[in-house]
Symmetry: C2
Subunit: 321 residues, 2 copies
């Protein structure tokens, strides 16, 4: 039996998984991402993680056909080259050679949004769909696009940066330098910013009460709890957030006409509190009902990335054969 | 020899062309689009236009292999069905059957942005490129997308509506009902609106002088002439316009990573007055030089659409064979 190794390299954690060629999970494990270290340190952690998974599952390394790695940033997957991965502090890094030479296995890299959408398409919310956009809304806003069953890559393989689509040109400045990007309006970070601001304007809000009086301690869970209790400020937070989210989503529908938009990442834990108003706002902004698009939560949670990274190996190995 | 008929149905004019299978133009001709008439009247005009071209060029109708028609609106090209074509006043119109039955020829429809980008890709500015976005900036802002050499259609074939991508959510209201769409910020209509506003703020401007004192008479040509004479208000007009244009273009680059963006339509006549500042603004907003994209003018002018419509017939007939 053949085995696929999937790695999801995040700014905080590195997740790993091994799947067999029937796409059953053999083992999954994770490590902390080295903080402010050179790329070589991160490669060592990835190598250790893979070795520990192979040993613990008593696999023969000979049966591993390849290693798929998702990386948050601008990547040319054809040569495993990372142009820019802000959360890792990487600029112009060869992300394939070290691991490839160590294991003598093919290494396939992709943007993290791409492995997440591959995972949800093959194993999760997107099964059966061929035109899917995935938005991972956490600290930032990542994305992956499947058009006619295939990943969108673009001319130099750095497409699918929906987080840096400007939706309000006089909005809050984004980490990329521009103003009013989808990410700076609709990330988990933005959600907490709205909560802090509305809390300061509404001193009696449950948002503050649940956060021990400190606006900076307001979390996604606190916003959800206050919202469920009918708190006015919490409802305003969700209103503002879903308004902006729906603008970005309608943009993507007008451009790509997907059949499904999958929302994953930390913010998706709020579920229908965010999805229901977003669906209503989106439907009311379409030009024609033919543009209808299902807006759903991801179902694989944080496993979507590693599962997609395993699928990446499978797809590439089939191309090679 | 086989022949292709191409029709570009616009809000004002209907253009027609016949090409042979070596893609040489045999004849081209145009008619006025019937104003506020039912679709059947427009079909009659199209039929007359095609017949007059066939007769004038002494072709045998038997040698015509099919008819391609570009239509400005949301279209499902698989069944020649127009959901919505605002400039024609069409809602839910079968745009194929009447013409197909009259000539007993296959009819292929596409959104007008799509036939324009097909034309420029095969015969114009986009020769050799495989990832191209075309923006037709005239009364409105239309678009067509070529990804990996193929038209982007989406799940229900109504993708590529870049004109309705919101870039400033508190901006001017668009004909679609939303606020701050790319079209409402960056069409020829918007350009003239900026000119009127700056003219009212700057009574001594050449914009007004050239327009005989009437802000409503300011045209694109007047803006260009005043700009070339160094007029302050005209420069402000171009500044505002190119700023917004670059925001929309950077969005498209972040999403699609095209190698080329072709600007066509009336506004493209302003040439480098608009393209040069736009290129500078776009380059300075990219996240990495790998995203570089050539921004060029279309070279086929108003022929891009009919030429693309002929190519549409050729491509579809090859698929059938």
């Amino acid at each position: 039996m053949n085995y696929y190794v999937g790695i999801d390299l995040g700014g905080t954690n590195i997740k790993g998984m091994i799947m067999n060629d029937q796409f059953q999970t053999v083992i999954s494990r994770s490590s902390h991402t080295p903080y402010k270290q050179p790329p070589a340190t991160t490669f060592s952690v990835i190598i250790d993680l893979i070795e520990s998974m192979v040993i613990s599952s008593t696999l023969n390394l000979l049966d591993v056909v390849g290693i798929g790695i998702g990386i948050p940033g601008l990547i040319d997957c054809r040569r495993n080259f990372v142009f820019n991965a802000a959360n890792l502090g990487w600029i112009d890094v060869d992300a394939g050679s070290v691991i490839q030479e160590y294991f003598k296995k093919s290494v396939y890299t992709e943007n993290d949004g791409n492995i997440n959408v591959l995972g949800e398409m093959h194993f999760g919310a997107g099964i059966g769909a061929k035109n899917i956009i995935l938005l991972t809304i956490g600290t930032g806003l990542g994305s992956g696009f499947i058009l006619d069953g295939k990943l969108l890559h673009g001319a130099s393989h750095v497409a699918a940066e929906a987080g840096h689509m400007v939706i309000e040109s006089d909005g809050t400045q984004c980490s990329c330098g521009k103003f009013g990007c989808f990410e700076s309006c609709c990330s988990g970070t933005a959600l907490k910013r709205y909560a802090r601001n509305f809390a300061l304007e509404n001193p009696g809000t449950l948002l503050l009460q649940y956060a021990g009086g400190d606006p900076k301690s307001i979390t996604g869970e606190i916003i959800d709890k206050a919202f469920d209790a009918g708190d006015y400020a919490a409802r305003q937070v969700i209103d503002v957030f879903t308004n902006k989210l729906s603008i970005g989503i309608v943009n993507l529908i007008n451009l790509f006409n997907p059949e499904m938009i999958i929302i994953s990442g930390g913010v998706s834990k709020s579920g229908d509190r965010i999805l229901d108003p977003t669906r209503r706002l989106v439907e009311s902004s379409l030009m024609h009902p033919i543009q209808h698009c299902n807006i759903v939560s991801g179902v694989l949670g944080t496993n979507a990335g590693v599962m997609g990274a395993c699928m990446l190996v499978s797809e590439n190995e089939q191309l090679v054969k």
